[in-house]
Amino acid sequence: MNKFRKHDSDRLFAGALLSFALILVLFIFVIISVLIERSWKSITTFGFSFLTGQTWNPLRHMYGSLPFLYGTLISSLIGLVLATVVGGGTAILLTQFNHLRFVKLATFLLDVLATIPSVVYGLWGLFVLVPWLRNTGEPFLKATLGFVPLFSGQVWGVGLLAAGLILGIMMLPTIISVVRKLMDQVPQELQDGAIALGATRTEKVRMVVLPYARVGILGAVFLSFGRALGETIAVTMVIGNSPTISSSLFQPGDSLASVLVTQFLEASTHLYLSSLYEIGLVLLIVAVLFHSVSKFLVWRVSERARIA
């Protein structure tokens, strides 16, 4: 291809395009270096104990980020489980039972769902979901599943469960659209074959469609999880903003991103601000880690599928 690049204009054009790419590299470099530079004081002061410390108390200069890591992971996990079950089910409904009339309408509505901004979900969560959880949802869970530590303790409304539910709703459109695309790629011959052998639609889904799309679904799930970790505004509004670790999902918590929103502009000392930048750095590392792991997993499994 290089042989044909004889025009000066081509070289100029390639250079211009490359400069766009370099700007991108510059961006990421600046972001990472600013985060490290600003959090340096916190890193050198606390070292590794920043990650294992369970107390976050700026008044007493104690900065441990474990409660935020815990809140981030648990709320995202709740959201992920809900979104995978509900979204996966919806995707099966829309692909395998696509003679239904409402498929087109449902697709349109799901596209609309994807455009609703995070802050509107937060608003809805705060004034609709949280009161419902406080008055109906959580008391019901407590009455039926109260013997499990997850569903015990005082009922607040705001908390890890509310954050998880909101995250689940926000993940839904992505999971549904990706899983649908994957299921559409399952060869029609395989599906027809299963039906011809006498399988019911359920059995076809379980034995043919799902195994075929498994790899991609795993990738979609991981990717959504990575995105949920960094979701900020909606979570901030419903998680309760309390840096505590408790086994009950009803209790208020806090996430890495939401503590930044609520405390960043209030940080009064250098060390406080530096600790918050380190929280940002931790958030970046967790997000990057998850992104890379999911890419690697999908790559490895698809590689294996290719060889087999």
Partner: protein, 270 residues
Amino acid sequence: MKEELFIRAIKKRKRRDQWFFVFLLVMGFFSLFPLFSVLYYVVSKGWPGLFAANDLISVFGTLEMTLFALLFAAPLGIGLGFYLYETRGTRTVTVIRFIAELLAGMPSILVGMVVYAIVVISTGTFSLFAGSVSLAVFVLPFLARETEDRLIASTSTLKEGALALGASNSRALLQMVLPVMKRPLLVAVLLGVIRAMGETAPLIFTSLGNNFWPAGVFSPASTLSLQIYFDALSPYTGVQAQAWAGALILIAMIMILFLVARWISKGESK
């Protein structure tokens, strides 16, 4: 006897199939229920508080900030998309692509913190400008990705044809591909506008919010998303009503853009 067992087994499988279908219907209902609930509450609670003076300030803040952000991000993002498209398969581009995906997957609040450290501190003030910068960085990877996807989807034969006729690479891209891609790229930019409009987190540290008309580009400004966030956390019901009104306006604006984008891409596919 044997036949009876056989029939019973079939009936069992059939029943299981029907129950599975019911389960799927319930899941489908759960998927769409939040949308209806959100829209219902936004409309019914937002309607009474509409047409307040503060909304107007936020609407202009949103429009201005998004416009500035896109002026900066659209050429850059589209250029980057072209770069990714042009250099597919080479080794350097896998690194660049990884970085682009990293930036796309990065929590937007981190962008806000970095813009705060650079722009807000160096200019000495929270500002509409700083907000625009953070929004631009936020939508950039999205625009690049959309551009690349749309280029891959529609134009490889077009470019090959131009090259076969002896056009240089840059000429093929700029004079053949770009004009054809005008509408798809416009749709990509509109989708970027939708994303930028609703974004809140990075603006808290950069634009801060403002109850009055901003004095200029270098002064704090409110957007609809910021107004919704701050008003929602207020203890006063009157202020909370403002949050709902803001949400109604924001969703209406986003829906209009969304329908326009859909309309354009539909015209394209015909």
